[in-house]
Amino acid sequence: MISLPIPRHRRIGVEILVRGIVQGVGFRPFIYNLACRFGISGTVTNTGDGVVIRAMARSDRLEMFVDALEHHPPPLARIVAIEQRPLTVPLPEGSFTILESTAGIAATTAIPPDIAICNDCRRELLDPGDRRYRYPFINCTNCGPRFTIVEAIPYDRPKTSMKVFPMCPECLQEYRDPGNRRFHAQPNACPVCGPRLFWHGRDGKMIACDDPITAAAAALQQGKIVALRGLGGFHLAVDATSPSTVATLRQRKDRPDKPLAVMLSDINTAEAHFQINDEERRLLLSPEHPIVLLRPRRQGRLAAGLAPGIDVIGIMLPYTPLHCLLFAEKPCPPALVMTSGNVSGAPICIANEDALQRLATIADYFLLHDREIVTRVDDSVCRVINGRSRLLRRARGYVPAPLTVPWPLPPTLGCGGGLKSTFCLGRDRSAVLSQHIGDLFNLEALTFYTESIRHLQRVFEITPEIVACDLHPDYLSTRYAEELSLPLYRIQHHHAHAVAVMAEHGISDPVLAIIMDGTGFGPDGTIWGGEFLRADLTSSTRLGRLSPLPLPGGDRAAIEPWRMAIAALYRLFGEDAFSPALLPPALAQIPADQRQAIVAMIRSSFNTPLTSSCGRLFDAVASLLGIRQYMSYEGQAAMELEALAAGSASSTWKNELLAAQSAALPRALVTEHEKMEICSEKFVKMIVHALHKGENPGKIALNFHFQLIRSITELTQRLVDQTGIHRVVLAGGCMQNRLLLEGLLHVFRHHELEVYTGEAVPLNDGAISLGQTIIGGLQHVSRDSHESD
């Protein structure tokens, strides 16, 4: 901030430019009110660069004004910079006015994310004296739908799905009044003029009722499944305190084990059922209202079967007025499962007709409304690890807010990965990371992907000139990239993981990247996944890895952990692996001919690529410990292994980890000689021996985590010594494991290293497109500059 060398208390003119998220968040009315308070005359307007204020006042008043706007901005605003310069031409005295926006503002401002209902609206919603009492679509400049209702830019009501609801005179007056909380609130509405609710049966027919919310609450209380049209798509809601209802939902959705998210009526209910720390509480109540993974208290009353085998449950608080009204109904259960309203792998339904048709086999009732959802946005999911929030799924509340990076990028499209796909649009110093899209092999997800790319290109006015994709030739994101006939950059998966974290933290210098991941295609044609890279923004070198294990049956091995266990055992012991003396009981249950078939495949290298995957090592360990041999959702075995280990961890486990760290590392988990490898089989050996000594599986699971952390630390230290690089990046799907990440961060604290991990950017493949965009964009720039040399 530039301070102005001017005598005090003289009347002066100044132009103030405010950059950041300052548009569509009630910034101009806020400035208007502030100006009125401090007796400042002048104007405020939105421009392509940010909000520009021209102000005349006594210098001390102006100082107070700037101080207030810097330190107490509207809740949704994020100020990045405030620049001031003297006005050369004095302004007319007297009033303060809000000017029309200048053209071309879309580029930097675009569209704000969708925001949970604010406290003012919540109060009005439940106030019988308010004209919006019990109106489920109440909102204001500080809250409500944004990105999900926008059809085109600029963000103005006629270009949203609110266009079919002309405002009544009262709403219009609020909308036009700069002193009102609803000044320019595009979705502003009331019971007279706005959207409504409807109550339908599973046959699709409307059911006449006094109040759809009352009907829905009653149905939920009776154990019915209600499909509920929300903000970014449909939810399927059931009573989360009733095991039989949860079981019915699982059965109808054919989702036997995958964790179900739960919405609780309020923070007190959440505190009663879950252990919640300060950061978790902050997240639950934040304007974004994400799903937060929380540890249940023993005495909780929620149904078993919400997250079988896992020690955390995804919890969120009501974030739309509709949710608030539902929980305010007496019969409504205090906890509702709120799972995505979709069928087998497809994206969530957003249209009424589509939901009525496709969810009819699952839902008993439908709570519908007539405010169209233009863009599908799932609930965001985060987990607090080491006191910081980590977004596991970045969607509602966060998207499409651009991420600011320190490097100017050419207009670039990063096409992302395969399963937890996102895409990313980069230009100048910003990168717009899309919402979670899902598995692109699902036709509807692929359609969602291609349409979203078009939509975001339009609303951010970014026309990609180059495109970046993964090295994997069969990802549909790669196929999409190849069809664009733009300069194409193929980026190695784990390099992209690393650079996504570098982008989040603005790191330009080379780093040691430790990527503990599932699978990613390597430039050598093998499958990578547990990697130690020297990475910078445009290149990476593999310095170390987990020693490769056979992956018998390819992707089959990723859903049948016993294959990985057999592969590791066979590597270690050959045919002896199957002697009763060695074979762990869990694997003795696998029919001998199947075990033999896996061995035959390994011997003939038939459909058995080698992989350095860390995820598959977790699978092998989970199998050996008898946790599970077949998975029904991605990552299940590894998550259950973590839960088993966490159950054995005392409150002082980090100290124990440090103590274990000082003891000698058991026989060369880190391979000697110049090969920088963590020996994957050695973990398996350790576990087989521990099982034979009759050790408790929980203890073994925890010890596995400890030894893995020790090995990673050991190898990292060697690489630090070798390269002289002290900056370390941690990423990859396995880093979503709390014990692993927290343990590593704890140990690294004692190593004088600068350690960075993904926080706002997912640790999993949701970040790949961001990394691709940066690497591809900057590779292109450096290529161009070489060519012009």
């Binding site: 497809a346 699902n442 036709l443 699978t519 091995a557 078939a597 038939f606 991605e634 493949d765």
Partner: protein, 337 residues
């Protein structure tokens, strides 16, 4: 025959070659045109248009349950002719043998070729044999070319598929591919796995006669399987393909082996199956005709051609999921992260 193995001399064109030709090829494949052993076969000109195709066969192992490389070579070329609606007339047979190949094996293959020719009524009318030094080949490579004749008015092509047309598969998927794959992986399965290699020209003739003008496209889903062939049909016709998972015929033992090996039946080779795209109103007739034949006894309607999804093949699962069935770049690669 005194020699037990193929020697380089057998391909020299000299006496050893001539002995091999007369003692093996002429003996088993004998027919008036071949018997002359001239530089080229001279054929009577048939009425109608000619279809002409060629294909080379390399397979490991060369003998497998349900067949051998020779059968593949005869059936493959007959089927390629049939897939344009042509009636196969005759074949050429080119062999590239590796020095050291057991003569008994070669004879077994030639006998098998001869039997296939007799059964299908399509003679080998010209041929050639070369021998390459040990290590420069893999026992035996075969090339067959074929000539067939098309009646006027027949126009079978993957370009011809129209929106709304129905797709039939003449039998179960993946039998040949999985038979070879399990051998290569070195595993044995419960339940018999055998190649489905067989000629399809008679089935095709029945279809053409039974559905005048109704057969748009015929393709044999060999390498790359039903998935790859349907992608080609979709690309060539500018339409989409919608499959129903529950309609796809797969033998239980094939499915079990696929699960074990981590393979998809949709991508496995077939050597005795055809995909037929027929007009919707004739689909039931087509199905009945197929099922009346031996080679089409397990035929099924598996999907249809749709508009609006040009070039895309999608499979609908019983739960309502719709998955993309894409052509693979090469071998299947893991992608679960």
């Amino acid at each position: 025959m005194a020699d037990k193995c193929i020697l380089l001399d057998h391909g020299s064109g000299g006496l050893a070659s001539q002995e091999l030709i007369s003692s093996l090829f002429v003996k088993h494949l004998d027919n008036p045109t071949l018997r002359g052993l001239e530089d080229s076969a001279v054929l009577e000109r048939p009425a109608g248009r000619l279809a002409f195709t060629t294909d080379s066969y390399v397979v490991d192992p060369i003998f497998f349950p349900g067949g051998d490389i020779g059968m593949l070579a005869v059936h493959g070329t007959i089927n390629d002719l049939a897939m344009r609606g042509a009636q196969p007339l005759c074949l050429s047979l080119g062999l590239i043998l590796e020095e050291g190949m057991a003569l008994d094996d070669l004879e077994r293959i030639v006998v098998s070729i001869a039997a296939c020719c007799r059964d299908s009524g399509v003679p080998v009318v010209t041929g050639d044999t070369k021998v390459v030094p040990r290590g420069k080949g893999d026992k035996i490579f075969i090339n067959t070319s074929g000539i067939g004749v098309l009646a006027d008015g027949i126009d079978i092509s993957s370009k011809n598929a129209r929106e709304g047309d129905v797709i039939l598969l003449s039998g179960t998927m993946g039998d040949h591919g999985i038979t070879i794959m399990t051998r290569r992986a070195g595993i044995s399965m419960q339940g018999r796995l055998e190649s489905d290699t067989r000629p399809l020209h008679r089935l095709v003739q029945r279809l053409l006669e039974g559905l005048p003008g109704g057969v748009r496209t015929l393709r044999d889903p060999t390498r790359g399987g039903v998935a790859t062939t349907l992608n080609e049909i979709a690309a060539n016709s500018g339409l989409g393909v919608e499959l129903r998972e529950e309609f796809l015929p797969v033998r239980p033992q094939v499915r079990a082996a696929c699960e074990l090996l981590g393979l998809e039946p949709l991508y496995l080779a077939n050597e005795g199956k055809l995909l037929a795209v027929v007009s919707a109103d004739q689909a039931e007739t087509a199905l009945r005709i197929m099922r009346e034949t031996d080679e089409g006894a397990e035929a099924a309607i598996i999907g249809r051609m749709v508009g609006g999804k040009a070039g895309r093949v999608v499979i609908t699962t019983p739960l309502g999921g719709m998955r993309m069935v894409t052509p693979l770049h090469g071998e299947p690669l893991p992608r679960i992260c």
